[in-house]
């Protein structure tokens, strides 16, 4: 018995078991990260006569601050995120509450609700495109019956809200199921006690459910914000970023604009800035969450 407890205390063996994972994540995670940080300070034009990497300090970033295309793509991404995430959180919460009711066939409905989460995002984009094509799509057809002209190929606002609708369709089930997991794990006693004390449903929701659900709510919110900011596949299939640049969110902007261009240094600077933006945002969210939890203690 002595030998095994020694084995489990041996940190070297533990790191040995972890090493394949560390190696793979180093190659595809850390290495690109360091590389993109480095390139952001360089000028590298591959089609120049002499293609070589030149250290230029912050020149790329100076250019970036005045790049209105990039900044407006970032702004559009934030606007999209605000719309989708707030709708999804509200709808998701209501649906999760519904799922807490005792009824039969819960697993069946849960399976249907997890359907959008398992299907390839690019295929979801394709299905939505097939619904919105003027001519045979069902949505333009229904709108025309009502006397509206729906055409996301040239109406910017409609295109924007179609991508919002798609995202809400795609990710509301995620919010529902995470909040449902949180709700099921809540302790029963506070609710029973509150019921005895004659609290109304609203009071229980506001003073018991929401505070207790706080960690799950913030985690869900955090993951949704991160994912909504970087959306590419579905929107690309639905609108292709158009009309014009109406639905060209920041992920699409990098993918279509920076990536194919040969100005790698500038592209790297833009990638780094988006990365930095995401890190700051997640740090901010984490701080808010932990602050709240510390105060509770």
């Amino acid at each position: 018995m002595k030998s095994r407890s020694l084995t489990f205390r041996n940190g070297k063996i533990a790191w040995g078991l972890l090493s394949p994972m560390l190696l793979i994540l180093f190659i595809v995670g850390v290495l690109p990260f360091i590389y993109v940080l480095y390139l952001g300070f360089c000028q590298w034009n591959v089609f120049a006569q002499v293609s070589k990497i030149k250290w230029v300090w912050g020149a790329n970033y100076r250019r970036l601050v005045f790049d209105s295309d990039f900044l407006s793509a970032l702004g559009r991404g934030i606007k999209f995120t605000l719309w989708t995430v707030s709708i999804e959180m509200v709808l998701g919460f209501l649906l999760a509450q519904l799922f807490m009711k005792p009824f039969r066939g819960k697993n069946f409905f849960r399976a249907i609700y997890s359907l959008p989460l398992t299907v390839a995002p690019i295929a979801i984009g394709a299905t939505w495109r097939l619904m919105t094509i003027p001519g045979f799509g069902i949505i333009p057809y229904l709108f025309s019956k009502l006397g509206f002209d729906y055409n996301i190929a040239y109406k910017a606002n409609q295109a924007f809200f179609s991508t919002v609708a798609l995202d809400v369709w795609h990710w509301t089930p995620f919010v529902t199921l995470t909040l449902l997991a949180g709700l099921t794990a809540l302790p029963k006693e506070p609710f029973e006690q509150a019921q005895i004390d004659g609290a109304s449903n609203w009071q229980m929701l506001w003073y018991i459910t929401l505070p207790l659900l706080y960690p799950v709510l913030t985690t869900t919110l955090f993951i949704r914000i991160m994912d909504a900011l970087r959306i590419v596949d579905e929107v690309w299939m639905l609108t292709g970023g158009g009309p014009g640049t109406a639905t060209r969110y920041v992920g699409i902007h990098i993918w279509r604009e920076v990536f194919p261009k040969t100005d790698y240094g500038y592209g790297a600077a833009m990638s780094t800035l988006v990365l930095y933006f995401t890190i700051v945002l997640s740090w901010l969210l984490f701080t808010i969450i932990t602050y709240r939890e510390e105060r509770k203690e």
């Binding site: 972890l18 009824f103 690019i122 097939l130 995620f174 799950v216 990365l275 995401t278």
Partner: protein, 279 residues
């Protein structure tokens, strides 16, 4: 009426929402069954005929069959690699006491949180210019994609498997060790069989996520290692899209996840929240 007020309205809402979730997929299927002439006539909800040509043409096309084959090989290869590596890591995290254990958790998660778009350029450059051995490079190879997909599949699998390995009683592998079994033997012939159901579900989730990926596949391949998701995206860029065939390919791309849905649905949230929220 009493029944409706009590629970009936819940069913009513659930069914309506279910229809909203199912409809786009049904609509795609309906379009995939339509001929060109049917497509541009008045939209109908019920599709009674089935135009197989939409499926036969892309699936008979060697290019598309290659895409499917690549997708299959890449997803399967990635799953095997991820499960193997994650099993070792999760065993280490579950059983061993060592300093730095918690930082590993945050580190793996940061790998998942990074926006893929920001990694396209450095990965592309690494794959085409930096990592090359005698002219061989990772760009446009299946191995390249198998490795990249570890970025998002490894973190969540490790945290899913850790929970599963935790539930295997420590005493079992301790007694095996006393009998002289090596560490690898303990992991693969004692812990793995006991954790098999959980491992199987994690493997399915990995497989689905790898199959579904598009962005990296579109940038890190050019011809040889293209996957079915890039094949689907190619439909829109070509002038004069054949919508029926596109719908058929979309259905084919969705098929694996639709088939595995019932099995993975219980774990999908743990997978998507990389273990932060468990069901």
């Amino acid at each position: 009426m009493k029944w409706f007020l009590k629970i009936g309205w819940v069913y009513l809402i659930l069914i309506l929402v279910s229809i909203i979730f199912l409809f786009p997929i049904y609509w795609t299927f309906a379009i995939s069954a339509k001929t060109r002439i049917e497509l541009f006539s008045e939209p109908r909800l019920l599709q009674t005929t089935f135009y197989k040509e939409n499926y036969i043409r892309p699936l008979g096309n060697p290019t598309y069959r290659g895409y499917l084959w690549n997708s299959f090989l890449i997803s399967t290869g990635n799953t095997i690699l991820v499960i193997f590596v994650a099993l070792l890591s999760s065993y280490a995290l579950s059983r061993f006491e060592f300093s730095g254990k918690n930082s590993i958790f945050f580190w793996t998660i940061t790998n998942r949180m990074a926006p893929p778009a920001a990694f396209l350029l450095p990965l592309y450059l690494l794959y085409t210019r930096i990592i090359r051995i005698d002219g061989w490079k990772l760009f446009d190879t299946r191995i390249g994609l198998i490795l990249v997909y570890c970025v998002f599949n490894l973190p969540f699998t490790i945290w899913l498997l850790k929970g599963i390995v935790d539930s295997v009683p420590k005493e079992i592998d301790e007694s095996a060790m006393v009998d002289g079994a090596s560490l690898f033997r303990v992991i693969f012939s004692i812990v793995l069989p006991l954790a098999a159901p959980g491992v199987a579900v994690s493997a399915m989730l990995c497989w689905i996520f790898a199959w579904n990926e598009y962005l990296f596949a579109s940038c890190l391949t050019s011809a040889n290692a293209r996957t079915i998701t890039t094949g689907l995206a190619e439909f829109v860029t070509v002038v004069g899209t054949n919508w029926g065939e596109m719908a058929a390919v979309a259905i084919v791309a969705m098929l694996p996840s639709l088939l595995l849905l019932g099995l993975v649905q219980r774990y999908i949230i743990t997978g998507l929240t990389f273990g932060a929220i468990k069901e």
